[in-house]
């Protein structure tokens, strides 16, 4: 059984479709990356899965419960963890009091283990917390009852790189023991590092759903070069280079071919400076989905 299954899930606000017929399934024990730029509709999907907002059309199941069935959905929430992007704690409580509060509703079997990894100042009131401490408290409350499924919305926002790594490692351990993670993010590199599979959402529509490896193969590398002399386009550019932009002796492009052939191609030029990086998510959208997207619509 899929931990989460979306069938034609649609949410419209007037003429705007925040989610437009999304269909996908998240299998038990996988880390599913839900990727898209800000405002693409990721949070809308999550808030529908939690029953906070109702779909205009279509439906979804969470741990077997149809989201339109309020009673069933409430019951499965005992096995659900949620880390919202905007963490709304009761500011007047201390970290400990907030955790006690949630523990009364759904238990806290692994609270102590989590607090060894993520340790916000539990004795202090939450109103004094930094963004990082808030996020850590959020992570602890999301996982402390050892849930079967955890839905995370931009989970590393505010965390320092060390804690981000710790979270990524922790997620890997959790899924190894059978927990399913629904990981929403706008950061491609993060999703790449953590997730098994990825669904990409743009303007409310699911534009890709595939293994992370395949996505990376398709997305190529972003290359930026500063040559000693002006770039001669007809000579330099090969068909593996797309989205080419040339200004005098600077050139940038997305490279979709074999890396070895790129490197041997570059040896025949005098290079002053070079940068090879993962492409921005926006570039991927632009170059791998815009045509399909336009044709489909």
């Amino acid at each position: 059984m899929a931990a989460i299954s979306l069938e034609n899930l649609t949410k419209r606000y007037g003429d705007v479709s925040a989610n437009d017929g999304i269909t996908l399934a998240v299998e038990e024990g996988e880390i599913f990356g839900y990727l898209g730029p800000n405002g693409a509709g990721k949070t809308t999907t999550i808030r529908q899965l939690l029953g906070l907002i109702k779909p205009t059309d279509g439906t979804a199941t969470v741990l077997g419960a149809d989201i339109r069935n309020r009673k069933a959905l409430t019951e499965v929430k005992a096995d659900l963890g949620y880390l919202p992007d905007d963490l709304g704690f009761d500011e007047r409580l201390t970290g400990n009091q907030a955790l006690d509060y949630f523990a009364r509703m759904r238990g806290d079997e692994q609270r102590e283990e989590l607090l060894e990894l993520f340790h916000p100042p539990l004795e202090k009131k939450i109103e004094t917390y930094s963004a990082g401490n808030r996020r850590m408290l959020g992570i602890v409350q999301a996982f402390m009852h050892d849930p079967e499924l955890v839905i995370m919305d931009e989970p590393t926002a505010g965390l320092d790189p060390l804690k981000q790594d710790r979270l990524h490692q922790f997620l890997a351990e959790e899924t190894a023991s059978g927990t399913t993670i629904f990981f929403s993010s706008h950061i491609l590199s993060e999703v790449q590092r953590v997730c098994d599979r990825v669904g990409i959402i743009r303007e409310g529509q699911l534009v890709a759903l595939e293994d992370i490896e395949k996505l990376l193969d398709r997305s190529g590398k972003h290359v930026w070069l500063h040559l000693r002399e002006d770039v001669i386009e007809s000579e330099f550019v090969t068909e593996e280079m797309i989205n080419v932009e040339i200004t005098d002796n600077a050139i940038q492009f997305t490279y979709t071919g074999d890396y070895n052939s790129l490197l041997s191609h570059l040896t025949s030029y005098e290079i002053d400076d070079i940068e090879i990086s993962n492409p921005q998510l926006d570039d991927i959208f632009k170059h791998y989905y815009s045509e399909e997207y336009t044709e489909d619509s």
């Binding site: 808030r47 939690l50 029953g51 906070l52 907002i53 109702k54 309020r70 009673k71 409430t74 019951e75 499965v76 929430k77 005992a78 659900l80 963890g81 949620y82 919202p84 905007d86 963490l87 709304g88 704690f89 009761d90 007047r92 409580l93 509060y101 949630f102 009364r104 509703m105 759904r106 409350q141």
Partner: protein, 260 residues
């Protein structure tokens, strides 16, 4: 599942204690002027225009019962107490939604019905603290001005005010689940409760508009009737309780259907 009730009750302690303190001090100020009032009540009653007498329900101002029932309770209890409960009711759901606490709360295995019911139940804190604080203060306070007060009458004034306060809270609650911003709900609730107090008071001036007052909660709680005439309008209390239940039911019905 009482986690919400526990935390909401805890959160209400502070405001309840502060408000009780304010009410106690105000009541003592009122009591301090009673000796002067006792002597010059007739002149005072004559001095007030008729609509003021109708609005507050002045009667027998020279007796301690008339003074409390017509002066202290209508002012402190009915107006400001009512406003407090309307404000508290309006802050319940809207505030949690506006500050995104509701998202996190509803990710727990707790239904929306339960959230409302536990939040409403937490009103036991101000109800108990305010009633005890005021009753004890006035019972002791009247002795300072050489008067005595029947504890049964005093208890009834407080007991019968509970349904009235609950209706005020219910009005706030319905607004709270209906509007987007907590500030709107709170201002709306205060305005409604104050307006209905005004309407009820003015409607008693003439028979033409008397019916208007029947639609206000203030018609069904009269401290002068209890203290001066020793009449307990239990039927009116039932009407208020039923109204309160209707308001809570309506709030639940709205809340379970709406997007958050």
């Amino acid at each position: 599942m009482t986690a919400i009730l526990r935390i909401e009750s805890r959160n209400r302690v502070r405001s309840s204690v502060i408000l009780t303190g304010v009410f106690v001090i105000t009541s003592l100020f009122f009591l301090a002027v009673f000796p002067a009032m006792r002597d010059g009540a007739e002149a005072i009653e004559e001095a007030f225009p008729e609509y003021m007498i109708g609005l507050f329900g002045f009667e027998e101002l020279h007796t301690i019962e008339g003074f409390l029932g017509g002066y202290v309770y209508p002012f402190i209890w009915v107006i400001f107490g009512g406003i407090y409960f309307a404000y508290a009711g309006a802050g319940m759901i809207a505030s949690d939604i506006e500050h995104r606490r509701m998202d996190l709360l509803l990710s727990n295995p707790v239904s929306r019905e339960s959230v409302i019911i536990q939040s409403v139940a937490s009103l036991w804190v101000p109800l108990v603290v305010l009633n005890l604080g005021m009753a004890i203060t006035l019972f002791g306070g009247v002795q300072l001005v050489d008067e005595t007060l029947d504890p049964v009458l005093l208890s009834m004034v407080h007991l019968l005010s509970v349904p009235y306060f609950l209706v005020c809270a219910g009005i706030g609650l319905v607004l709270s689940v209906s509007v987007k911003r907590v500030g709107t709900a709170q201002v709306g609730a205060i305005g409604l409760v104050f307006m209905s107090w005004l309407i009820e008071g003015l409607s008693e001036m003439g028979e033409t508009y008397e019916w208007l007052g029947t639609a206000t909660p203030h018609r069904y709680y009269d401290s002068t009737e209890i203290l001066v005439h020793e009449e307990y309008a239990l039927g009116d209390a039932v009407i208020l309780m039923v109204t309160f239940l209707v308001l809570v039911t309506a709030a639940v019905a709205i809340f379970v259907r709406r997007d958050i």
